[in-house]
């Protein structure tokens, strides 16, 4: 995934997140750790990539942009085994889908990657 000008990096070093539920849909709000990194999220955390990341775990993925909060909102449909009281899952309300998304690797410009590594220290 990495090229000469980019390096592959896990989202946890670039964003924070919170997730919740609406019925059988989980939402993940993904927020850039630094406002300047938001364009990287917009460009790289695509619907296609998120769908692939959660394949077998959600039927459909939607994405919304919130540039004012440097955030993206993802809806993961049919991700909660029926949701609410029906679901047998430990995470029936999708509370930790947030960090499941942060496991994803995306290509990141070298300069951003350097800043992100520095921040993580």
């Amino acid at each position: 995934m990495a090229t000469a000008k980019t390096v592959s990096m896990q989202l946890r070093y670039l964003a924070h997140a919170r997730s919740g539920d609406k019925g059988n849909t989980a939402n993940v709000g993904l927020i850039a750790l630094e406002p300047e990194w938001y364009p990287v999220l917009v460009k790289q955390v695509t619907v296609a990539r998120v769908r692939k990341h959660f394949r077998g775990m959600a039927s459909r993925v939607e994405r919304f942009e919130l540039p004012n909060l440097h955030a993206l909102n993802f809806l993961l449909h049919d991700a909660l085994d029926g949701g609410g009281t029906i679901s047998l899952k430990t995470d029936a309300q999708g509370k930790v889908y947030s960090t499941a998304l942060l496991r994803m690797e995306i290509p990141v410009p070298l300069a951003v990657a350097r800043q992100a590594r520095k921040r993580a220290k």
Binding site: R18, G20, F64, N68, A71, N73, G82, V96
Partner: protein, 458 residues
């Protein structure tokens, strides 16, 4: 900044939240209003289950002793309370609080505003007959399909009846299914006299309500960003809205409390349970979350401004609870070495036994806590050296006998399955009724004429 500021404090983020929070909000600094949200989507189902066993139950029982603790303070300081603790029995809840007030010698000093009319169950057949299909918003199925299993049906009411209750002098407003955000909107509209069709103000109040409706989740609790740096969570400061007449507001918390109010803490709460951010739909209007501007305005102070909104729709959301079936979850813990392999072997044995017994389930779900329970396959292959793994098996069925029999198949694995197993001291799993959630829409005009506001006095 000059002009009137109204302080609205978040006291509870859900039914079961930290009991000290409302007490601290009332005693640790100045506030004008205390809002307490008790109703998550599944909460109405739980309360309904309780009311079906006991007609006096069906509201947040914790609310009454909590109010008993803070009533002397709020009466003395003139703090007003808005809460949807009434659940599926707001009248029972209001009467219990009045009883507490009398016990505390506050007779004649407390007015409670009771909001009813959200309960559609008595009229449900008439509504269906009149063409209100109340289709499930997720599946599109009409309510008639499950009519005989409906246990409760409540429309989400907005702020207006609560504003009326405040205008008529209620110090405590108790409701059933009103929106979480309405509990914050009502004090703002009452205090500033905003018009109900001033959509930007509706949107501003909606955002304020959304930020504080989950309690400390906006003030450092459950905050992922740099979580180790969040200090003092043994005594977290719950969020407070300082609202101004121009529709802007500051989120803060009382001095001397733990947690943090920052752009990240508020942002994480803003995206929580979000759908399409352009259209956060409430009974009072539609807020556009892409217009929200956040600015750090001092330590533990975030200024929120710029919020735009649009008109309310002609529909109200209805929260319907219906009987779905039965479930049970059993767990066992397998120890090192080969903990994961042992747990998987036990799962295979159990599944074979269920099959041999001819039991029918809608679903049998196995999770391995410590391996895949939260992130599924994304967690990757576990270390072969895991010290322990919890096997967690759940079943769901409309056949109660099958679920009942499943609960008796867990403990036998201890002596008849893989070795190094423990953690069964809790006994047999319980068979639980599943009361499920059916979200629907209904015409506003079918509900609003039945909404009532009563003032009850201690």
């Amino acid at each position: 900044m000059t002009g009137k500021v109204v302080r609205i404090a978040g006291g509870q983020g859900f039914w079961g939240d930290w009991l000290e929070a409302p007490v601290r909000q009332v005693r640790d600094g100045p506030i004008d209003y205390l809002m307490m949200d008790y109703l998550a989507e599944v909460t109405m189902s739980i309360m309904q289950k309780q009311r079906s066993r006991n007609p006096h139950a069906g509201y947040a029982r914790d609310f009454v002793p909590l109010m008993e603790r803070i009533l002397p303070d709020i009466v003395e300081k003139g703090i007003r309370v808005t809460s949807n603790a009434g659940g599926v029995n707001p009248r029972g809840c209001a009467e219990a609080v009045l009883e507490s007030a009398r016990k505390l010698g506050l007779g004649g000093k407390l007015k409670i505003g009771l909001v009813t009319g959200d309960d559609l169950l008595p009229d449900l057949d008439a509504l269906i007959a009149a063409g209100h299909e109340m289709r499930d918003m997720d599946t599109g199925r009409p309510l008639a399909d499950i009519r005989d299993r409906v246990l409760s049906a409540n429309a989400y009411l907005g702020m207006q009846p609560m504003v009326e209750a405040l205008a008529r002098g209620a110090q405590v407003v108790i409701t059933g299914r009103v929106t979480d955000t309405g509990l914050t909107l009502a004090p703002m509209f009452h205090e500033f006299g905003w018009a109900f069709d001033d959509w930007d103000k509706v949107a501003a109040g909606t955002v304020a309500g959304h930020i504080i409706e989950c309690g400390a989740q906006s003030s450092g609790g459950n905050l992922l960003k740099d979580w180790r740096t969040v200090k003092g969570l043994a005594n977290p400061g719950f969020p407070i809205v300082e609202a101004s007449a121009d529709g802007t507001f500051v989120i803060t918390k009382h001095p001397g409390t733990g947690g943090v109010v920052s752009i990240p803490s508020v942002s994480e709460q803003l995206v929580y349970e979000m759908g399409d951010p352009h259209e956060y739909i409430t009974p009072d209007g539609v807020a556009d979350f892409t217009t929200i501007q956040l600015k750090q305005a001092g330590k533990n102070r975030v200024r929120v401004s710029g919020i735009r909104g649009g008109p309310k729709t002609d529909k109200l959301k209805v929260s319907i609870a219906y009987f779905y079936g039965y479930k049970a979850v059993g767990t066992l813990v397998y120890g090192w070495p080969d903990a994961y392999d042992k747990a998987r072997a036990a799962d295979a044995i159990l599944r074979q036994r269920l099959k041999n017994l001819g039991l029918q389930f809608e679903q049998v779900l196995t999770e391995y806590v410590g391996v895949d329970a939260t992130h599924g396959r994304l967690a990757g292959e576990p270390s072969p050296d895991l010290p322990e793994v919890q096997l967690r098996i759940g079943v769901r069925s409309t056949d109660k006998a099958a679920v009942e029999r499943f609960t008796r198949e867990i403990a036998p694995l201890v002596l008849t399955g893989p070795p190094s197993v423990t953690g069964f001291a809790g006994g047999r799993p319980q068979v639980e009724d599943i009361v499920a959630y059916w979200p629907a829409l209904i015409d506003r005009t079918a509900v609003e004429p039945g909404v009532r506001v009563e003032i009850l006095e201690a």
